[in-house]
Symmetry: C2
Subunit: 223 residues, 2 copies
DNA sequence: ACCTGAACACCGTTCAAGT
DNA sequence: ACCTGAACACCGTTCAAGT
């Protein structure tokens, strides 16, 4: 007796949307149900534990059914990652501040905060489990992250398009997020909260950028 | 007919060490043979494709034999990652320069260079496939990376122990390495070589650190 | 002490067949 | 149009049994 285990675990929308999609997904939204089941496994146990067969069981369909809607296990995960990028972008866009320097710090904190709030999702979005060249949507979504950072850096005085500076700033906060998720910071930072480490790191970077801007301005006005 | 495929692919040490370990590993070094087979699959096809059964086939033993020497598939991968950290550490320690600033840049380039030279290994070392809390040796190895960077930063004028600065510098170069491996830099940096991006990023960071050092010195001397 | 063979409980993916 | 069931070729891990 194999026992379906998780099959009876989820019962969403107990009252809404029950035209004729009661016990069969024949007219229900199977793609959404599969994404939902996959995401709940992702958040609870990580990307490696998301199997198409378990997802199908959780959605109450046969293990072959997902292939009507997703080309592969990887395609389903890519669909989750794309949604994750959307959420990350929304979080970053919402970071406003009158002082450009403070805005950059807030952006860094928001980026790292997203990674801390959803570590499995963050790792899926940036980790090696997804062969990203096959999913151009993911690259496009990541580019929007870069665009937000670039705007913030131009506001800080970097000369447009400021792509190099934006990449560096992105690398800094991305690296901080990775190191924090790997628990490589708390041990070393003493009792200092991770977000304070982020703030200090971005401050150093902003100072360096300011020094560069001042120097370039001096150079161009003296010559 | 399943065909052993990779079983006949590798034939190392054709002349040395053939006391009595010719066709049977009974007296050979099976752990080393397993590590070797696993590493060659890792480099060629990534960590996800390293299966214990294929590794066993490549080493010419039954699929249960590896369990005499490694507790699990993950333990074998952790053993590879530990070796990778050793190589990374050796690379960093070899980065010397009379100017502290140039040394920090060299360290960053070496770190990113390691990631570019061995992307699958780098991702294994820092990615989510290994549950690192279970392998303290990996954390210890990573700490040595931090120690090298901290020394370089103290030489640059950061006040000892300079842990916060070291973490920030680590995050910066680590993030650059990750973004480069994900091809998120070449598209944006134009024709600029990745290493030039690294140099510029570390320069900005070093400038910010210098500004901070100067400011702190001024504050303590004026009060 | 070290390795094998069979067994168990899983996978991803494909495909004919059902409704 | 959408889903099922059986099938194929794999996995990791365990364990009695062999030498």
């Amino acid at each position: 007796m194999p026992a379906p285990k998780t099959a009876a675990t989820r019962r969403p929308k107990p009252k809404t949307a029950r035209k004729q999609a009661a016990a069969s997904y024949h007219h229900g939204d199977l793609p959404a149900a599969l994404r939902g089941a996959a995401e709940s496994i992702l958040l609870a146990r990580g990307a490696a534990d998301v199997s198409l067969r378990e997802v199908a069981r959780a959605a109450g369909v046969s293990h072959a059914a997902p292939y009507r809607h997703f080309a592969s296990r990887e395609a389903l995960l890519a669909s989750l990652a794309a949604a994750g990028f959307e959420r990350l972008k929304a979080t970053l866009v919402a970071c406003a501040s009158r002082q450009p320097r403070e805005r950059l710090i807030r952006l860094g904190e928001a980026y790292v905060g997203f990674a801390i709030a959803e570590p499995a999702m963050f790792r899926l979005m940036f980790g090696p489990e997804l062969a990203k060249p096959a999913f151009p949507e993911l690259k496009a979504a990541a580019d929007q992250t870069l665009a937000v950072l670039r705007d913030a850096l131009v506001a800080l005085g970097a000369s447009p398009p400021a792509t190099g500076e934006a990449i560096s700033a992105w690398a800094l906060v991305h690296g901080l997020a990775e190191l924090i998720l790997d628990d490589r910071i708390e041990e070393h930072a003493g009792s200092e909260a991770p977000m304070l480490t982020v703030r200090r790191a971005v401050e150093i970077f902003a100072d360096g950028l300011a020094a560069r801007v001042t120097r370039d301005a001096g150079k161009s006005s003296k010559r």
